[in-house]
Symmetry: D2
Amino acid sequence: MKKDSLKVAVIGGGSSYTPELIEGFIQRYPALPVRDLYLVDIEAGREKLEIVGALAKRMVEKAGVPIRVHLTLDRREAIRGADFVTTQIRVGLLAARARDERIPLRYGCIGQETTGAGGFAKALRTIPVILDICRDMEELAPDAFLLNFTNPAGLVTEAVIKHANIRSIGLCNLPIGTRMQVAQMAGVHPSDVEMEWVGLNHLNWVTQLRVQGEDALDVILDKAAGTGALGVKNVPDFGLDHDFLRTLGALPCSYLRYYYMPDQMLNEAQEAAQTKGTRAEVVQALERELFALYKDPNLAVKPPQLAERGGAYYSLAAVHLMDSIYNNRKDIQTVNVRNGGVLSFLPDDVSIEVNCVIDAQGAHPVHVETPIPPQLRGLIQVVKAYEELTVEAAVKGDVGAAVQALTIHPLVTSAQAARSLVADIIAENRAYLPQFA
Amino acid sequence: MKKDSLKVAVIGGGSSYTPELIEGFIQRYPALPVRDLYLVDIEAGREKLEIVGALAKRMVEKAGVPIRVHLTLDRREAIRGADFVTTQIRVGLLAARARDERIPLRYGCIGQETTGAGGFAKALRTIPVILDICRDMEELAPDAFLLNFTNPAGLVTEAVIKHANIRSIGLCNLPIGTRMQVAQMAGVHPSDVEMEWVGLNHLNWVTQLRVQGEDALDVILDKAAGTGALGVKNVPDFGLDHDFLRTLGALPCSYLRYYYMPDQMLNEAQEAAQTKGTRAEVVQALERELFALYKDPNLAVKPPQLAERGGAYYSLAAVHLMDSIYNNRKDIQTVNVRNGGVLSFLPDDVSIEVNCVIDAQGAHPVHVETPIPPQLRGLIQVVKAYEELTVEAAVKGDVGAAVQALTIHPLVTSAQAARSLVADIIAENRAYLPQFA
Amino acid sequence: MKKDSLKVAVIGGGSSYTPELIEGFIQRYPALPVRDLYLVDIEAGREKLEIVGALAKRMVEKAGVPIRVHLTLDRREAIRGADFVTTQIRVGLLAARARDERIPLRYGCIGQETTGAGGFAKALRTIPVILDICRDMEELAPDAFLLNFTNPAGLVTEAVIKHANIRSIGLCNLPIGTRMQVAQMAGVHPSDVEMEWVGLNHLNWVTQLRVQGEDALDVILDKAAGTGALGVKNVPDFGLDHDFLRTLGALPCSYLRYYYMPDQMLNEAQEAAQTKGTRAEVVQALERELFALYKDPNLAVKPPQLAERGGAYYSLAAVHLMDSIYNNRKDIQTVNVRNGGVLSFLPDDVSIEVNCVIDAQGAHPVHVETPIPPQLRGLIQVVKAYEELTVEAAVKGDVGAAVQALTIHPLVTSAQAARSLVADIIAENRAYLPQFA
Amino acid sequence: MKKDSLKVAVIGGGSSYTPELIEGFIQRYPALPVRDLYLVDIEAGREKLEIVGALAKRMVEKAGVPIRVHLTLDRREAIRGADFVTTQIRVGLLAARARDERIPLRYGCIGQETTGAGGFAKALRTIPVILDICRDMEELAPDAFLLNFTNPAGLVTEAVIKHANIRSIGLCNLPIGTRMQVAQMAGVHPSDVEMEWVGLNHLNWVTQLRVQGEDALDVILDKAAGTGALGVKNVPDFGLDHDFLRTLGALPCSYLRYYYMPDQMLNEAQEAAQTKGTRAEVVQALERELFALYKDPNLAVKPPQLAERGGAYYSLAAVHLMDSIYNNRKDIQTVNVRNGGVLSFLPDDVSIEVNCVIDAQGAHPVHVETPIPPQLRGLIQVVKAYEELTVEAAVKGDVGAAVQALTIHPLVTSAQAARSLVADIIAENRAYLPQFA
């Protein structure tokens, strides 16, 4: 890209995360000259957009960078001629997420924003909206990059790969977060940590790990055993034991606790649902507090309370990715892309999350060299099959595909549970699932 | 094969199934001239061998065929120069099977002879013995075929593929049984039924089904819905519903009920364990009755009570396979063989169960043409990964591989359960698991 | 198929080969009840159609079978409701073939009916006509099988696989001819010969060979060394030496002489072109004689002189294939089909020639077990790449693809020669290459 | 690598190229602290080693860098504890190369140092010596990198991949040379050129080409048409035409002229052989002049005449690669590595030449995204099959594999020529081919 000023459209600009992103654009301005920043939201999000948009403007002004912040409900205006389109939407808002978390509990299954039946419900709601955005991009900004931060990011990326004709990359903050945590465990700077990252979004492992050039996988596995070491805000922290990690031979991401210790995770979820509320319900309170803070006309920086919200390093990851594309940096980042033979045991046209060289053309996977052992491969394959069926169900409104998807998901307990889950999810999300009408 | 008389060694010849096999050899004698039939067993099985061996001799004599039945505890004598070696062994006898069925229930997991943690325990005990038999064959009968009927047949076949240098085929009675049942449902002769069979042993589906040349898959799926239609003695009969089967798009084998309705299967198993006993315990009583019958010096045919034992058509399948090899028939049978690219989504050197052309060189898979949908593929892949790890654990005595194997098995509830299962299985099978010493 | 009377359309029915086919239908009538046999030709072939059609009627009448022979120039009438459509067409007649043989000689390249630049030219003329026939079948006989005997059979089959939506099989008489010759060399009945056949049409090898069940590859390779043993009418007989065949490790088909000894073949072709004429020119004379014979109203059997024409066993192969489809025989025949992973080193949607199980649904490849050594694989791959480009050129009329196709063909000497060949072929076949207009 | 001083062993240190390399080490010293540089040669090269070694010492001294230059005939001493081992050997010296160039001409085939029968002969001589070096490294420097610059680099790299257990990378100066030439054609700095590079050593294409971020493939193809634009010293400059390059769709390397215009290349070679001598013979004179220059005790820099020798940028490529490994730079360079699925149409364990990320662990291929069209793929596949057979022949001394290798090589005219070539090559290189004794 040779432009010296950029247009960026942030779909879901009214999100509480937006100050993160604004901070990122401000800090990176010398390298990434964002001139026009469009924060887009829908009518239902108008109030939040106005609050967060006003904060964004104050932040920019205080920082003294020439970014023009535009607030709009007109998505097409925002996308027209954009260089980057990012999405951070939540179809149905946190109320829908709370349902995603509670419906599975009825059938003894885990409900989670991105994993299992909860992530499945979110995918059904989200994929059609993202594909609508792609339609706009195909028409109004055919050369732009779609950088998708909307969960479930792997499923959304796969839908775009299969059903749109634009350049896109799916991004998650887990890779950068893991780097930070490993660096802390090893007592080194994050740039001293190198990781081979393999799998799907929220179902991945670090299969090679070097600290200051030395193989440190076993050392970090030992440190990661038990609780407290590696984790994200969204996932309860039950530790895996040392022996298990050593024979696993790879560092699992936090979300793998749902697969490795579903009993404990389910118990915790059921207890939380009856006491403090599900994660969505906790976050709803948090969000109310955040927006109260954001309204303060004297606030012109990202408030520290945002860190409680989760999504740490999200802004760093997003702005880093745009910078590398804009500046053709050819550095290595971990993102969601089309497989295309990189993991030879998966179909070609699915999304995977691996290390990629990022340049002006996008993300180019680096060949995965460590042989993937069966204990990783089998899980990746069955969850990917679930994802393929989920994308098909979401795009076609196919109830049969939806039931088959959940039936093979490791966190759904039976075909009968799958059928009940699909029925409840469709019934209780009717406004957001026109494809199943 | 141009020999006009054959030597067959039946390892585990003292099995209650043996009269089935003898009946098969008698009926097929004109096409398959078995001259020397060695029934081999171990010291612990001497009494059963003598009882069933005497019956076998009476059966042969009554039938007037020139088969010489030899009873021996010397496996090497039996194998030396054999044309076919068949195995129908049960390491640890039914008492071990009963443990396989009960240990998993402690952790809320299904215990079954071939599936899940029960089949896993059986594999750990059985694979080393089978590989010992292969060592004997490599030395004493390098051109013989090993026809393996010992469960878990898929895991055993894979161990032989990876760790022995002999010709082998794994056989199961499900394919022929399914053909019989479909024929009955359709009101036609079994030879009027054609099936494309895809998957692993005890984890397979009929993906194309024609009756008298016409596509009949949907018709049979509709008939197979609910209970009573398709089933085997070993697997409780809970039906799958019509919609599920239609969107599944393939006829699942009986053992898939463990995957599709684990709750009901587990409840049934737990209740049975507390009342009538597990399947092994029921079978133990049955076996006692059978051997009482077998002792009757006036009995010279297979008694009808054997049908209660399960394993229907086992003899038919076994003798049919030998016949096609001996006579280079080039007909199509469904057996367990090396994958070698037939299912491109699995590694090359694993076992699969598919239609094969059977000739004098062995079993040659017919190309699978129906694209395998994700709802089948994902399950096949994750169970195959479990199988690869199980074979590795069984051969190397690797506890870590064992824990990882069970952790990813869809019927094991957590990594913690996997660890406990492995610990209990090793502790309670110590006599049969020298590799873990 | 349950019909008790069949309709067969023979496109190119005026061919001198037709009496072969008629003889086949007569002999096989009890198993294959062809009731209506349509011989179709174009206006330019009307006279030949009438001559050969009259002979066909006399043959049927003399044999006393109830086959109705219909002669027509209306292809759609012949195809409507047909069970089998066979093609044995020659677009541009023998005059075009003679040009195909002579043009390459100008540039020091081999000109041959099916191989190299000659086969390439024939493909450009033939593929559009075959695809027109497919269009008619899609509309008028969607369940019929297209059995293609038209050369270059591999290229034509691939065009149908990629660009039509009908069931088709490509057939060649080399496999059956090779079986006959090997049987003769071994002094056994053809049914005693078993061959694993691998490659592309006219570029294939026997990689396993058993005679009466015993491995006989080396014995037959030794017998095949030198001249006189294996050959077809169309290909000059220069022998390969014993050492070469042994290290090749497979029995090459006759057409491979063009690849293994292009110098001698080219010399022979150039000399023939200057003396007795090319093969097409020789055949033209032969055909005139044959049609003179066919006109004889007293002739009511296939005249022995037809054997000189080449195409031995063509009728046997064709009728055998129809028989196995009609009767769902599930026997093994060697035909041209979609690859679909059978040869894993080629793309999925190309044609290959391998052993297949033939049943009522068509041809199903048997898994190829012998690892294909590099000396076979490399040649198969480069010629297949040529074929893919040729099909693309033929379908799209793409001169660039045509030049690239010939450039990589092992029998074309340079990119410059490729360019000249394409220019001359298009210029001298203008009437038959509307796609390049 | 955290060492602050490095040991480098240069096998074939007496080469006339060595001053290139010395210059590179001197210039890069701040980033790449080579402390001990061992120039190793064999007894036959002692004099050259002493001459070039003395020059190297003068160069280092004049530059004032603390590199210690060691001259030795003891290879094991040089390898012991080395960080990098580079090879630039010529088994049989230029006299053998001259034979490689002349023998093929007898049979109307191209003789060239790396391509066709000439490169084949060189591979037979070189591979055993390289594998001996690997044996030393496995024992004496198991963590060192072998950076192989010895031709034929692709074949040598493949032999090391298949038959040694060390870390290695094969390097060629074509990628950097092409970058330089494209930059010149585009009027930009070399760092403004980005290329996707696909294929094998000396059989490769640029399939994507961007100049200053813009797609420039077609522009450069047009400029590359005809003569004079792209070329290397070793390859006569006959141009390819514009239309051909456009439909080829990729920029071919200079060596592809042997495949695309073998007639002209052969004529040129035959004429040169009768007049000025083959390339080796020209180079022999050049080398004599160079060594005369090198002897001058006043010379302490690389003399400009070395540029005539060929191998431009060789030093730049070599030192750049070591620098990126030593400093874990993660930049992208084009080198020869194990395929491992990167080019899915080739076996896994062969060498390919593609863009790689270079870090402290070695070279990691970047996923190739452009679909490789058949006109590239077919040629790559057939030449790779030749290479596989050649490596096998070189390692095992297998005459049959050697004949089969040359038979399928596109630049060998027949199986008979292949046989004669193998016979002559073995006979005339007897001293260097103990494996064929």
